[in-house]
Amino acid sequence: MISRRQLILLFSGFLCLTGSTAIAEENSIEVIDPWIREAPPGMTMLGGYLSIKNNSDTLVSIVGSSSNHFKKVEIHKTEVSTNGISRMVRQERIEIPENRIQVFEPGGLHLMMMQPIRTLAAQDVVDVTFQLENGDEIKFMAIVRGL
C-alpha cells in the first residue's frame, strides 16, 4: 500500500525526470553552419541561413527569433508563384519533427534580420537565439559571409 507521502514523492520524482528530459532535449538540437549574408552599409535587412537538426524523439517548434545585433529578427520563406512573383512570407512557427533536419537557405526559409545596430563585415560573429514553443531557447553564433 503506498502512502500519500510516497505518492507525492513518486510524482515529484516523475516531474523532475520530465524536467531533466526537457533539458536533454534542448541539447539534442543541433544548429549546423549558421551564417549571415554580408550586405553593404546602410542596408536594413540581412538574410540569415542555417540547418537545424532535431535529434530528440519529440517535435521541436520554433516560435521566435532574436539577436542582440538586430532590432528584430523574423523567420520568412521566399515563395515564387507560377507567374514569377517573389514574396517573402512570414512564418510564425517552424516545426522540426524528430530526427529531421530543417534547412534555411537562399531562395527558401531564411532569418530576416532587421536594423543591425552597426554595419557588419565578413568574418564578424553575431549571436542568434531561437525561442521554442516549450519555453526553451537555442542560442548559437552566426558568422557573416562575404559576397
Binding site: R37, A39, P40, P41, G42, M43, T44, M45, L46, G47, K71, K72, H76, T78, V80, N83, G84, I85, S86, R87, M88, P106, G107, H110, M112, M113, M114, Q115, L147
Partner: protein
C-alpha cells in the same frame, strides 16, 4: 486474251512501283542531307528564349554610371536586367550573386564582351542612386544600377511584365516589396529575347544565354 494482257502488264507495274520507291527514297535522302547541314534548333527547343521578340519602347531612368538608363544604353549590348530592391534580404542578393558568377563564367569563356548587368530598384523610396551605387559595386564593378520615380519605373517594368507590390510597414517602418524576380535578357536592338529564373545556376544561365544569342543572331 485477258490472261495474256494481265501477265504482260504485271512486270511493268512492278517496275513502275519500284522506280517510284527509288525516286522517293533518293528524294528523302537528299532532303535529309540538306536539312542536316542546315540543322538548327527550333525556338521551342531553346530554353529561356522568348521568340518572337518584343521591341522595347522609350523609357528613361537615372543610373549609377551617370549615363541614364534608356534605349540608347541598351543598344549594341546584351543586357541581363533584374528588378528588386537593396533591402531585400534573400532573393535579390542571391540573384545578383548568381549574375556575378554568370558574368565571371562568360568572361572565362571570352564570351562576356558586349554584355552588361542592370539592376533596377522598384523601391525608390529607400533606394537612392547613391545607395544603388554602393550596392551594385558590392557584387561586381561593372554592374549598373538604376531607379527613378515609380511612374518612370513602371514605363519600363510594365513592358517587361514585371510586377511589384509594397507591403504594409511594421511599427518600425520596415516593409518588403513583392516583385517579379525573373532575369530578363535584352538584345543589342533593345528587344526582350530571353528570360531566366532567379533560382537558376550560373552555368545554366551562361549556357542558355549562348544558345539564345546564337539563335537571335541567326535570325538577323
Amino acid at each position: 486474251m485477258n490472261e495474256q494482257a494481265i501477265s504482260n502488264s504485271n512486270p511493268r507495274k512492278y517496275f513502275s512501283v519500284f522506280a517510284l520507291v527509288c525516286i522517293g527514297l533518293a528524294g528523302g535522302y537528299f532532303t535529309f542531307l540538306f536539312t542536316a547541314n542546315n540543322q538548327q534548333l527550333k525556338p521551342s527547343e531553346i530554353e529561356g528564349l522568348l521568340w518572337p521578340s518584343k521591341q522595347l519602347s522609350a523609357f528613361e531612368l537615372e543610373s549609377t554610371d551617370g549615363n541614364g538608363l534608356n534605349l540608347a544604353q541598351l543598344k549594341d549590348r546584351w543586357s541581363f536586367m533584374f528588378f528588386g530592391y537593396t533591402n531585400c534580404p534573400d532573393v535579390c542578393p542571391m540573384t545578383l550573386t548568381t549574375l556575378t558568377a554568370t558574368v565571371k563564367q562568360l568572361r572565362d569563356e571570352s564570351a562576356s564582351d558586349a554584355t552588361q548587368v542592370i539592376f533596377v530598384s522598384i523601391d525608390p523610396k529607400r533606394d537612392t542612386i547613391e545607395q544603388m551605387k554602393s550596392y551594385v559595386k558590392f557584387f561586381d564593378s561593372s554592374f549598373i544600377g538604376a531607379t527613378d520615380t515609380i511612374e518612370k519605373i513602371n514605363v519600363l517594368s510594365e513592358q517587361l511584365s514585371i510586377a511589384h507590390f509594397r507591403s504594409e510597414p511594421d511599427e518600425n517602418g520596415n516593409y518588403n516589396v513583392d516583385h517579379s524576380s525573373s532575369i530578363m535578357l535584352i538584345d543589342p536592338q533593345g528587344r526582350r529575347v530571353g528570360i531566366f529564373g532567379p533560382q537558376d545556376k550560373p552555368g545554366k544561365i551562361a549556357a542558355q544565354f549562348q544558345a539564345i544569342r546564337k539563335y537571335v543572331e541567326s535570325q538577323s
